[in-house]
Symmetry: C2
Subunit: 261 residues, 2 copies
Amino acid sequence: MTSVIESLSDWNRQRSSPAFQDKTLGLVPTMGNLHAGHRSLMERSRHQNDICVVSIFVNAPQFDQKEDLRSYPRTLGSDLETARQLEIDYVICPTHKALYPDHYTYRVTESRLSKVLCGKSRTGHFDGVLTVVLKLLMLIKPHRCYFGEKDYQQLQLIKGMLSAFFLDIELIACPTVRDQDGLALSSRNQKLKASDRVLAAEFPRILSMRLPVDVVKDSLQEAGFVVEYVEEEMGRRFGAVLLGDVRLIDNFLLADLGKVF
Amino acid sequence: MTSVIESLSDWNRQRSSPAFQDKTLGLVPTMGNLHAGHRSLMERSRHQNDICVVSIFVNAPQFDQKEDLRSYPRTLGSDLETARQLEIDYVICPTHKALYPDHYTYRVTESRLSKVLCGKSRTGHFDGVLTVVLKLLMLIKPHRCYFGEKDYQQLQLIKGMLSAFFLDIELIACPTVRDQDGLALSSRNQKLKASDRVLAAEFPRILSMRLPVDVVKDSLQEAGFVVEYVEEEMGRRFGAVLLGDVRLIDNFLLADLGKVF
């Protein structure tokens, strides 16, 4: 049975109850609109832990574009159905007010990795991510937390935060889940027009080609994408493009280039 | 018996050992050079907890002046003697390298209270304080932590951090301890020339007078201090002055003005 918890004090009461003692707890932090990417994290957590928690919280501070926040898909009904199917024990849906009693005056910041790749254009985005993740970890007190490799930069930043602040929590990185045509699953994909959705599959296909970065950029542009960046870091190739007003990101291991599709 | 611990892995082994189970742990975070102000925190912690920890760490990132960091008094031998006398169980003296595996790329920042009073001139000081305190709290995992009201702004900022990040740790605020002549104890007092040390006692005496802020400022200047600020906030009057290159701070409850000395 899946319990839905909105109040943090309800959660705190549960968390400190004897039912949680000596049990391992896995957390999948999400912004809702759960898709197969999230499901893979939830299944992994279900497999590894006694108690499984999914948090659903659309975290305003991490949105650098107001319109993106406004239009972010909110689908709580079907999300809860997904959680039930996957035998998640708790879905925690806190309010902004409850998570930000400080009005976001306290922040976790990072000054190196958060400034490259997506951080160059999305000012403040990763501060918002790190801050809310630290809050959720402190509140939910998991033993393991699950993040997808699609947001690889985010995953590395969170890993770094766990280490910098000596948090005794294991981060489990899960492989990117893709649609049949290769597009990495993302809640923002559904904002694509039908024709753009077809074109979108060219993004991972071109990005993962074993060709020099500049050639890849040109190919993406020719295919109809506005290229924000294609860069190689941490043994991976990262890319971000725009199709209309929808931003897509993806990344591949350098060792896998030319072998993915 | 007081155990001195330098290695974080030694501490982690201790902290997770059965000897700590179901025991309350009190932490007094310090930069060493322990004086009667620190002793009052340590005694309070000894009184309230099963296990008492004092951390000694001169935290470079919180020093906005290199010279202040260089000349900060380091007196480990006598500090350990103090800890033994007060039956502190553990003195933890981590290295900079061990506490900052991230090279201070991850920080806790605050954007409101940290920008006023001492925050106006001491750029980055409170980021350094908040960051190291979060690290120490996560490592040492105390139930209670002890801070002095002499650094009232710091105390409030840490209190706010505990609340913003939902840390289940009680902050115990302890009253300022003063020398016989009224000067609030501080490790920096010993940097005063003998003649300045005599004059320094005028600072709390004038600051706590029941007179308008502007009159207090003028009186401090006339007495020979360089006034950085005298301001009233949070039901208190705060002041910071310079005597030579030594910076003194103090604060009093507004309700106590005119009644202190």
